[in-house]
């Protein structure tokens, strides 16, 4: 499916940015995954050392193999799900609106839209050692209505995103209200 179809792109609309979270924010999940898949190896060596006859019986051997296989497959699905949650979170900025797509697990998704001319305030927040070194952070977009806002989480180059949003919102306001 193309992006234009996903956001029902209008004829005059031009996609300016397609933003996702910085790849470095996925690194901790990679390490967690590596830790999880190394656990059965440790358990195997422990069981072999403490209960050496446990795996001699064919019934327990088959049970152990199938349980380990199931454990690995479950960990793959969980890792893949985590990737989908990370990768399918995106913010699409056009010359007319912002579309915020948030994937919440496998069976829930939240989509918000905000017209650019309604933007009152754009704030960037770069917080932490890795955020500073790798130039990623949060961009909070607020409107005049206090209960409507969009947060771009951990996007790369948040200051450039902020500047572009302000520029685009000015242009969109000129288009809607003239002057």
């Amino acid at each position: 499916m193309r992006l234009a179809y996903l956001i029902k792109q209008k004829s005059y609309e031009k996609i300016e940015h397609v933003l996702r979270r910085h790849p470095i924010t996925f690194i901790p999940y990679v390490f967690l995954f590596l830790l999880i898949i190394s656990l059965p190896v440790g358990v195997y060596f422990m069981v072999s050392a403490i209960f050496p006859i446990f795996l001699d019986r064919e019934g327990t051997y088959v049970l152990a193999i199938l349980l380990a296989s199931a454990y690995y497959l479950v960990s793959y699905v969980l890792f893949y799900t985590q990737f989908v949650e990370y990768y399918l979170d995106m913010w699409i900025v056009t010359n007319d609106r912002i579309v915020d797509i948030e994937q919440l697990g496998l069976f829930a998704r939240s989509v918000s839209e905000l017209d650019l001319f309604r933007i009152q305030d754009v704030t960037t927040d770069v917080h932490g050692f890795f955020s500073t070194i790798f130039h990623y952070g949060d961009v909070t977009v607020k409107t005049a209505s206090s209960n409507v806002g969009i947060v771009f989480r951990n996007v790369p180059n948040p200051n450039k995103v902020r500047e572009d949003l302000i520029r685009l919102s000015h242009e969109d306001r000129k288009y809607h209200f003239g002057g």
């Binding site: 499916m1 193309r2 992006l3 179809y5 996903l6 064919e58 019934g59 051997y61 088959v62 049970l63 193999i65 199938l66 296989s69 199931a70 690995y72 497959l73 479950v74 793959y76 699905v77 890792f79 893949y80 799900t81 990737f83 989908v84 990768y87 399918l88 995106m90 797509i101 994937q103 496998l106 069976f107 998704r109």
Partner: protein, 82 residues
């Protein structure tokens, strides 16, 4: 009553079908959210490859096992009235 070893194998196949359905749901999400890019392709390929490797390893380790043998025996006489 003897419980044969292939019962665990059937349970494992049921689990595999659930796993496959999750995999298909994830692939569907990637396809329908305009996220089929190089990154998602490589991740999907990686997950698919390690899944195949795991299943192959499982099959290799279980080669030569006699699944007709009994896992354990249930003594039903314990539950019958005297």
């Amino acid at each position: 009553m003897e419980i044969p070893l292939y019962i665990i194998l059937f349970l494992y196949f049921v689990f595999l079908s659930v796993f496959a359905s999750f995999y298909l749901v994830i692939a569907y999400h990637i396809a329908t959210s305009a996220s089929f890019t190089l990154a998602s392709f490589f991740m999907s390929f990686f997950i698919f490859a390690i899944t195949i490797l795991t299943l192959y390893g499982t099959m290799e380790l279980l080669t030569g096992v006699d699944f007709q043998q009994s896992l354990f025996t249930l003594d039903l006489s314990l539950f019958s009235p005297r």
